[in-house]
Amino acid sequence: MAGITGKDEVLTAYARKLETLDAPKGRSLTQDAIRRLRRNKAAVVAIFLVVFIVAAAFIGPYFLTWGYAEVDWTAIRKPPDFEKGHYFGTDQNGRDMLARVLQGTQMSLIVAAVATVVSVSIGVVYGAVAGYFGGRVDAVMMRIVDIMYALPYILFVIILMVMFGRNPIMLFVGIGAIEWLTMARIVRGQTLSIKEKEFVEAARAGGAKPWTIIMRHIVPNLTGPVVIYATLTIPEVIIAESFLSYLGLGVQEPQTSLGTLISFGAPVAEVLPWMLLGPAGVLVTLLLCFTYIGDGLRDALDPKDR
């Protein structure tokens, strides 16, 4: 009977073809997210720009003719001059602006990274603990967050910076300590729903201690929202740092940061515009990029929000 309709032949051929193919690969959630992120052109461009700026800030200074604190007595208050290697011009002390902008970017990025890590760590642990224990613990802990929301926080940082001297460590801690509130709220909300899941119940039935459950079972499942809000925290931290430096409370000479550079550039921008435009351009580019990356990540990791 075989071969009359030709059906078997087709089926056999199909079966052989299937054998030669690889087993179908499932896409993991991460791969899915990366694919969605790649389709977002603004986010991709922003990522490349950030990588470029970070590389320039940390590697660039080694390729420059001038150091950030080095004085060129032949070029004081000079506009950009390519022959001498002052690509961004020089300041009133004859220091190369490109070198200073790179050093300032480096400082702003370091402050941003450390302060973000501080605020994310505090926020995640605080929020997860409040959400996991719930009840009265949760009520008290979230009330504290409400109180801190009610405080004019920038006043606090100003007070902290003035009172405890202007060292960078306090800058990190001060800024990190005020930016964790939103993170704590988000993490708490997520924890409330995660702790009802079966795997948490299984861990509890297996005798795991609350701390182990929080750190091993709940926190890893918070990665998505935490990554998104950490990315969105970075520009806020950069703004806070540059604002404090602008007021003269942040990074001190000869070290510099983007905010310090802008505060020196702003009053003389009429006659020496390159002193304002260089650092301002880098600052705005960085902030724009992080905002786009954050938005892109949110769209990629949190598809239900779209």
Partner: protein, 307 residues
């Protein structure tokens, strides 16, 4: 409703007290004091000064003295600006700050709501894209940089507006500060308004309203605006407090005679009285604003129950 309001007021009192306590101790536990000037004072003068401001007493006594005075509405003396007490300085500086912040608030909120609505109705057409750009600039450019750029452009190159300073009664001196202050606020409001308006326009009751033949304007005015305003209203409280604190910075940048000038100088001089007084003032305003917003919210949204 009245009971709900009363409960909210009562629950704000312990918060305020805790916050005052925290502020007080952070300030006092830090090293340095208001009288470590560049010239060392003679010891007897210093001792007398410290005694005059109660700084020689144990910290806990100072705290109770401060709270006792505070309950009587007395914010204490300024320790650096001679002959003024904190309440007087606040009375001099704060009305100005409040005027600037409220002007920015009213302008920014109206522009934000209107722009958000226009963008939502014209979703993905040119008004929408223009708005997205303006919002991005407002959110991303920090206020001190915006101030510097606007000063440079409108004050120095075009000479349309004064770049800074203050002449009594001159509105022109306020244009740039208010713009700098209002832009980010308008940006956030319009983003919220656009999002919620798009959502509301997609609901069934709006479709029903449209299908029974109401024109675009009537649908917006009768059915869409009120629910779309909810997220905006909940942002107004934090928004105004951002404007009030942001005004400190803007005053500093433009050289305006508000409370911000006193605050930054006072913090640098460790003038406990002014720093604490200003912080407390701001805290009470922010708490009051949050309360007000909650009440307005309860009135706007029938789903909120007064527990």
């Amino acid at each position: 409703m009245l009971g709900y309001a009363l409960r909210r007021v009562l629950s704000a009192i312990p918060i305020a007290l805790i916050a005052v306590t925290v502020c007080f101790f952070i300030l006092r536990l830090a090293p340095g004091g208001p009288f470590d000037g560049e010239r060392a004072l003679p010891p007897t003068v210093l001792a007398n000064l410290r005694a005059h401001y109660n700084l020689d007493q144990p910290l806990i006594n100072q705290y109770f003295i401060y709270i006792w005075r505070l309950l009587h509405g007395d914010l204490g003396p300024s320790m650096v600006i001679d002959g003024f007490n904190v309440s007087q300085l606040i009375r001099i500086g704060f009305p100005f700050t409040l005027t600037v912040a409220l002007t920015a608030f009213v302008i920014a909120t109206s522009i934000g709501v209107l722009a958000g609505m226009i963008a939502a109705v014209n979703q993905n057409k040119w008004p929408d894209y223009v708005l997205v750009l303006a919002v991005m600039l407002g959110v991303v450019v920090p206020n001190f940089l915006m101030a510097a750029l606007l000063q440079l452009w409108f004050g120095v190159y075009l000479r349309w507006l004064p770049a800074g300073g203050w002449v009594n009664g001159s509105i022109w001196h306020l244009v740039l500060p208010v713009t700098v202050l209002a832009w980010p606020h308008a940006a956030r409001i319009s983003r919220l308004m656009r999002g919620s308006m798009i959502e509301v326009l997609g609901t069934n009751y709006v479709r029903t309203a449209k299908s029974k033949g109401l024109g675009q304007r009537l649908v917006l005015a009768r059915h869409a605006i009120k629910p779309a305003l909810l997220p905006v209203v909940s942002y107004l409280g934090p928004g105004l407090s951002y404007l009030l604190t942001g005004s400190l910075a803007v005053e500093q940048i433009f050289g305006l005679p508000g409370i911000g000038k006193y605050f930054v100088t006072a913090a640098l001089n460790r003038d406990y009285g002014i720093v604490l007084g200003t912080t407390i003032l701001y805290m009470f305003i922010i708490l009051a604003l949050n309360l007000l917003v909650d009440l307005v919210y309860a009135w706007l949204d029938p789903k909120v129950r007064y527990r």
